[in-house]
């Protein structure tokens, strides 16, 4: 990446600038590929951009950075995404 020689402080783009944000998650979105109708609503509504769009319009979820907000499961019209508890109950 091109580095700039300037006198002010400058930050450079990096994946995971706040670390692996997937560790914030309590509920994990699980995609049922058989039910998916490729409407891409989860892809466009994911605030973090962790639902990635593949060439054939199927989607995959990046669990390293998914914060587990559950928007994808909530906007899915065919209920192909379900939220499952990941962390143990104390």
């Amino acid at each position: 990446m091109k580095k700039y020689n300037v006198v002010t402080t400058i930050s450079y783009p990096k994946k995971g600038a706040m670390g692996k944000t997937g560790t914030w998650r309590v509920f994990k979105p699980i995609l049922d590929k058989a039910k998916c109708v490729k409407c891409l609503r989860c892809w466009i509504y994911c605030p973090e951009g962790t639902v990635t769009r593949n060439k054939d319009d199927t989607v995959s979820i990046d669990y390293d950075y998914c914060k587990g907000c559950g928007i994808c499961a909530n906007v899915c019209k065919v209920k192909a995404i379900t939220m499952e508890r990941e962390a143990k109950k104390k």
């Binding site: 402080t9 400058i10 930050s11 450079y12 783009p13 990096k14 994946k15 995971g16 600038a17 706040m18 670390g19 692996k20 944000t21 914030w24 998650r25 409407c39 891409l40 609503r41 892809w43 466009i44 509504y45 994911c46 605030p47 973090e48 951009g49 962790t50 769009r53 319009d57 990046d62 390293d64 950075y65 914060k67 587990g68 907000c69 559950g70 928007i71 499961a73 909530n74 906007v75 939220m83």
Partner: protein, 301 residues
């Protein structure tokens, strides 16, 4: 246009400091799908200044300049002038500010930039509070909403920023919502193709600020439009037109949902329902929205 036709360009890199379910990153993703990477963003103090993450890293894959709270539009004017001087007129300059930096603190710089006819896009993502500093009341907070500085509910109504901007008679003013991505994409694309100052306001339902579950961000945006609390419109060369559901509401083709359906999910209106229902104040909110739509009908139908 369908969701499938939206491009793959991403300017927000995963792993940012945003809260789960954040409408600002959702809005940013959509806006930069339309603008592309040949843009410069000017960000005053707002949630987005935090979402950028910590030095020496950033989560945004485009050049960003951070600037003082009141100076978003003034800073963008400077960037635009410098680019023009260097012959880089094809680069889009975007000022991206919250409702605090637009409605209250940044209004004089914004008004000045619009009056000078600066060629830039000003985007206000409106979450109706100062959420970055911990949920204080702003000029955009609706009547009866709880914030940390209006504990019993706000006693005033919000102001109509869109109509204040329209009084500057600039080429393009629009109101959009993160829950309608195709509509937002189309509006940003249209703004990009025009010369002169452009203003777009995006309603951004904020889960921690409005006190609702983080999975409901999109649902709250949809309900805000369906209940008429927020209107999707665009104002182009002194001509007003409504879009999507708001158009159908204006023309009376669909009935506006009662506002109670929207506010009952939000904890910031919780004191209107518990311990007992405050019918009087709910009716005041409903009446205010009714009057707003009556005004729209008399002016623009």
């Amino acid at each position: 246009m369908a969701i499938k036709d939206l491009p793959d360009t991403e300017c927000v890199i995963p792993g940012s400091a945003a809260c789960p379910g954040c409408p600002a990153t959702l809005g940013l993703r959509l806006v930069f799908k339309a603008l592309g990477k040949n843009s410069i963003m000017v960000v005053p103090a707002c949630c987005t200044a935090v979402i950028e993450s910590l030095y020496p890293n950033t989560s945004f894959d485009i050049p960003v300049m951070n600037i003082a709270f009141e100076a978003a539009a003034a800073g963008a004017s400077g960037v635009e002038a410098a680019l023009r001087q260097q012959g880089k007129g094809d680069t889009t300059v975007v000022a991206w500010a919250g409702d605090g930096g637009t409605y209250d603190i940044g209004i004089q710089a914004l008004s000045g930039a619009l009056e000078r006819n600066t060629n830039f896009i000003y985007i206000c993502y409106n979450n109706q509070i100062y959420s970055n500093t911990g949920i204080q009341r702003s000029g955009a907070t609706p009547y009866a909403a709880w914030t940390t500085t209006t504990v019993g509910g706000k006693t005033e109504f919000r102001k109509e920023m869109g109509e204040i901007i329209q009084a500057h008679h600039i080429p393009y003013v629009a109101q959009a919502c993160v829950a309608y991505p195709e509509d937002l994409y189309k509006k940003v694309k249209k703004a990009k193709s025009m010369k002169g100052p452009k203003y777009i306001e995006i309603l951004a339902p904020c889960p921690p600020g409005w006190r609702f579950g983080m999975e409901k961000t999109v649902e709250m945006g949809t309900l805000a439009v369906e209940t008429g609390a927020w209107a999707l419109y665009e104002y182009e060369n002194d001509k007003m037109s409504f879009n999507g559901k708001s158009k159908l509401i204006l023309e009376g083709k669909i009935k506006r949902k009662p506002v109670e359906e929207w506010i009952k999910y939000q904890g910031r209106f919780g004191h209107l329902f518990k311990p007992e229902k405050d019918v009087k104040r709910i009716k005041e909110i409903e009446d205010h929205i009714y009057q707003m739509w009556e005004r729209y009908r008399s002016c623009y139908l």
